[in-house]
Symmetry: C2
Subunit: 275 residues, 2 copies
Amino acid sequence: MVCAVVGLGLMGGSFALAMQGYFDEILGYDLNPKHIEEALSLGIIDRAVEFEELKEADVIILAIPIRGIISSLHKLSELDLKENVTIIDFGSTKESIINECPANLRKKLVASHPMAGTEYSGPKAALPNLYENKVMVVCNINESGEYQAGIALKIFEQLNVKVKFMDAKEHDRHAAFISHMPHVVSFSIANSVLNQEDREHIVTLAAGGFRDMSRLAKSNPDMWRDIFKENKKNLLDSINAFENELKKAKEMIEKEEWDKLTEWMGEGNKLHLIM
Amino acid sequence: MVCAVVGLGLMGGSFALAMQGYFDEILGYDLNPKHIEEALSLGIIDRAVEFEELKEADVIILAIPIRGIISSLHKLSELDLKENVTIIDFGSTKESIINECPANLRKKLVASHPMAGTEYSGPKAALPNLYENKVMVVCNINESGEYQAGIALKIFEQLNVKVKFMDAKEHDRHAAFISHMPHVVSFSIANSVLNQEDREHIVTLAAGGFRDMSRLAKSNPDMWRDIFKENKKNLLDSINAFENELKKAKEMIEKEEWDKLTEWMGEGNKLHLIM
């Protein structure tokens, strides 16, 4: 089987590194010539191809931003793809991809979202074990072809991920809480410190807690703008839920309701009983 | 030299583990009999003592909550301590400790705050390398005796920390931004997810980003209530600064000002150029 990876950054590059030896050949496509060069020299892909040559592939991985995935699906729908091609997308939101997938490709597509990543990007950020033991959400699997679903599940087994089936709507809402809102919060923490006059003095005190809380603020702004745009409604809902808790805490501190505040923190402790 | 550690939890226990062999003897005091038992069996201290016996020590480390430090200083001021005793406190805020330190002990006290910790507590959480390469803030050092300052700096050299001298007022304000506000934020994230109907389903999606952002919400509520109480004004200031950034982000998302939002995230990226 020939696999083509579209997008040779952190996600696509890590996928190709983890799957070395599984496919007969790994082809690579990226709009950025520097990414192609790096992916070749790092041994991430066997051969760089033009978009049209993706029709040679049995499996196509779309590891690019959401709007890129949708436009690639439209371009792919006009190519003479293999009859049994399996297309797997790694988009961070799933509803719009599924809704906007051209009808003639819907059965070929297995809409997936690996819950893995780092704050870095590009082929050099790729890690062979990025997906190891992580969760792979697969959305609306009943709309994919049985053959394609089988191929994707075999690939995910090889990738050593834990597959969770989920409705796309539900996925997008959950992703807002678990990933998108925490990114907005982390950027807000970073900017609130940067806006202080003595910011350089403040960060000399940074220990592990602050590093963790501000790590996501290293993430790529263009990539996250696209995700926020795509998941606007759920994101605003999750920000509102967060703001509501913060407001409660602030009021308890202002009113010096210390016992109530302690209880509220005790509730927060319980999160780690379920994860 | 004999060292006594008051409070055998994460901070005091880790100090004692890191300083094995440096002192002739390490005495331990804790209000919790279980902590004493554990500290003895883990080899953290050589001998458990009563509070009164702290007068045998050349160096006394106060690794307990802020109010406990203040009341211990008052109790110590009534003991017949060694003439040249050095008292080092590890309190998370510094202004109230310095202001409320009995006058006869002010020169003996080196007010310090190690910028290190984990979300765990108790002697079993102690780590010999907890302080390694971390920052130790020392406040208002000019008010400590020269002899005591010298002893403390030698101990900190052995502990392998980077010493930063700072005014107590400034420290408390910085600590609010770098540590106290991020804790309130992390508890707010945890509670906002726990309040969702499908919370258990949501956390199945948790990856590294969410784990980082919710890790501080594992912290001990009693300990953090005391810190928030002590640093109320600075904490509210830092929460307001954070809320202000979050509000900006939310408005840009609502109004779909994507370019402005991207720029705002780009600003956040810069934090990591200075830390």
